[in-house]
Symmetry: C2
Subunit: 366 residues, 2 copies
């Protein structure tokens, strides 16, 4: 007899995007920032590596919280650092959702939320999106009313689209907590701010952010939640005491302080995003206008999976994604390709290989 | 109405030992190793800080697993790296214990297990220890039979005592999993090995280890579980995808490879432990013979809490601990002082201040 909880035996486990550990790949599959992080972040890490690593870190990472608080004009008690946004999402499920209860999240969207709910023994109700990636609020109303957590990435993945604050506030569950996952928020033309927390429903909203994407520090594992102190206090009880390591705290703090680096880097990514989107449209793809560091495309008459596969054979890695139960997108749901914004050289290489792939496939179809 | 789970509202939250962030303290309260980590570990961290931190780490830390597997003559599938042993303990609770079920752990012992069970909505049955820190197996039998997890630190905290493998094997729950928390295993006169996993009950045993203590890397947050692949596979489904950061993986791998550093450092700590134990006995304390990097002492006629407080006023931090419901130790249970093994200079300073504190209190009692 298995000693595991039935919920654990029942799930497959979340499968993250491929992470080849060897170099030589054009890696446009897991939404990493292609640029090296702020030199100040690297120096802070190197400094900390030589400074009392034998001692436990500050369990609350108060220096980091102080910096975010100053930047957002909030009290430090509003901030909860974690071992990546993943840990904050796990903490949210464990804080607010009992086994047998339900969460809600948009679909097509980030599939991890469903896995985290399943591990907790909870169910997921999907908020099926319209074909233009908007919410069907009439259909969503009852689901939201019955949910303990509603989790929404903004910008969304895989679409890269962004919902307005007014739209988001309509999703706050009356008996639960709304989680606004802003992993990609810094790449929007108008980057995110904290104003949604100042709304009437603000006391039941948790924003999550990360240094993985915008700050080029996916290797660090550092994210943070922003919410009313009543929520943060309870979430702190659920987190592991020393959930963030000393190097990550040092690196993340220096990275956030280097606002010039962020402005320059996100501007480069937005410029490359425009160029990539235009090139893909020229190649016949339907390109969803993106506010994130990736673009979602479909092709009216090519097989998406075989494009992905042909690129991979040429050591260019993008993401092929399938959402079979999305009726607004068609009888078989939606599938397509998500391409992370790389450096200009990486995107050139991707486009070169893509043109060959499309040309060759086209020839072979004759 | 609180949106939190009732179990979360009900708990106080685990309070870790004090972590003053300023220097100038003799810090002997949270069982950190007083020596700097292996220079090879620091160099590996510095190297990694300059090497593609923008990219996600290997979700399974396979290089680390390979090294442990070689050192222990096991397959890498037996190893689960985590964000500190704390995360592995959390993963164990979430993998094996349903709300309403129960865990068991010795008492007096590491109190975090009870907090983790409470967060999961589970109960804790204490295995009350005899006054010589041995198990009362007759009294424990039914509790063990009804437990999904039995968690035992070996050496134990606060006592520093170590149970034999034969004793431990009697604690494996027939319908659950036995967790052998070896955070302090490397400080024993005969350091731990993996032989308990080769027993008949081995398929239901999980060993947890950490680089925080033995390897002087508490700042890193890196631990690992060792268990049969059937158990590791299920636990992997529960962990966050990228639970270990790239710097911690690099540092921990280099630290474990530097076996010479470990041998030298643990020998120094054992030597200081002998010297400290003798000095405390000479000052009238009852010293429990320790196999860990701390010693547990009581004094027949001094107030433990005021000794702790007087030391703290002199910027010497040790741990005052209370276990009120331990009848074998007396009608009011047990209280006493746990002193981490520091450097020789730190221990000298501690003993100097302690002598003053004891002398002054004695004078003031006249």
């Amino acid at each position: 007899m298995s000693p595991f909880r039935p919920a654990v035996d029942a799930i497959e486990g979340y499968v993250p995007g491929e992470q080849p550990q060897e170099t030589g790949w054009v890696k446009l599959n897991t939404n990493e920032n292609p640029y090296p992080p702020s030199q100040q972040a690297i120096e802070a890490i190197v400094g900390k590596a030589n400074d009392r690593l034998n001692v436990y870190p500050d369990p609350l990472a108060r220096g980091f919280c102080q910096l975010v608080a100053e930047q957002m004009d909030l009290d430090p008690e509003w901030i909860l650092p974690a071992n990546g946004s993943d840990e904050n999402l796990t903490i949210l499920l464990r804080s607010f959702v009992e086994p047998g209860e339900q969460i809600a999240c948009p679909y097509p969207s980030y599939i991890l939320y469903e896995t985290l709910a399943a591990i907790q023994g909870a169910g997921t109700q999907r908020l099926l999106l319209n074909a233009d990636w908007s919410f069907d609020f009439a259909a969503a109303e009852r689901t939201i009313a019955n949910s303990k957590l509603v989790l929404v990435p903004n910008p969304n993945s895989p679409s890269g689209t962004k919902w307005s604050h007014d739209d988001l506030l309509r999703l706050v569950p009356p008996k639960g907590v709304f989680v606004l996952d802003e992993a990609y928020g810094a790449f929007a033309d108008n980057p995110h701010d904290g104003s949604v927390l100042q709304s009437e429903a603000g006391r039941r909203i948790v924003m999550t952010r990360t240094v993985s994407k915008a700050f080029s520090l996916a290797g660090l594992r550092f994210g943070y939640a922003i919410a009313h102190p009543d929520l943060i206090r309870g979430m702190r009880k659920v987190k592991d005491s020393y959930n963030c390591d000393a190097l990550a705290i040092a690196g993340a703090t220096a990275a956030l302080a280097d606002t010039e680096w962020l402005t320059e880097t996100t501007a480069k990514i937005r410029a490359t995003r425009r160029r990539l989107s235009a090139a893909l449209a020229e190649l016949g793809f339907e390109v969803t206008p993106s506010q994130a560091n990736f673009v979602w495309v479909t092709h009216p008459d090519r097989n998406h999976q075989s494009i992905y596969q042909s690129l991979k054979e040429n050591r260019v890695l993008i993401r092929y994604m399938q959402y079979p139960e999305a009726p607004a997108f068609g009888a078989h749901g939606l599938d397509g390709l998500r391409i992370t914004i790389g450096t200009d050289a990486e995107i050139d290489r991707f486009l070169d290989v893509l043109r060959i792939v499309l040309g060759r496939d086209s020839t072979s179809n004759v």
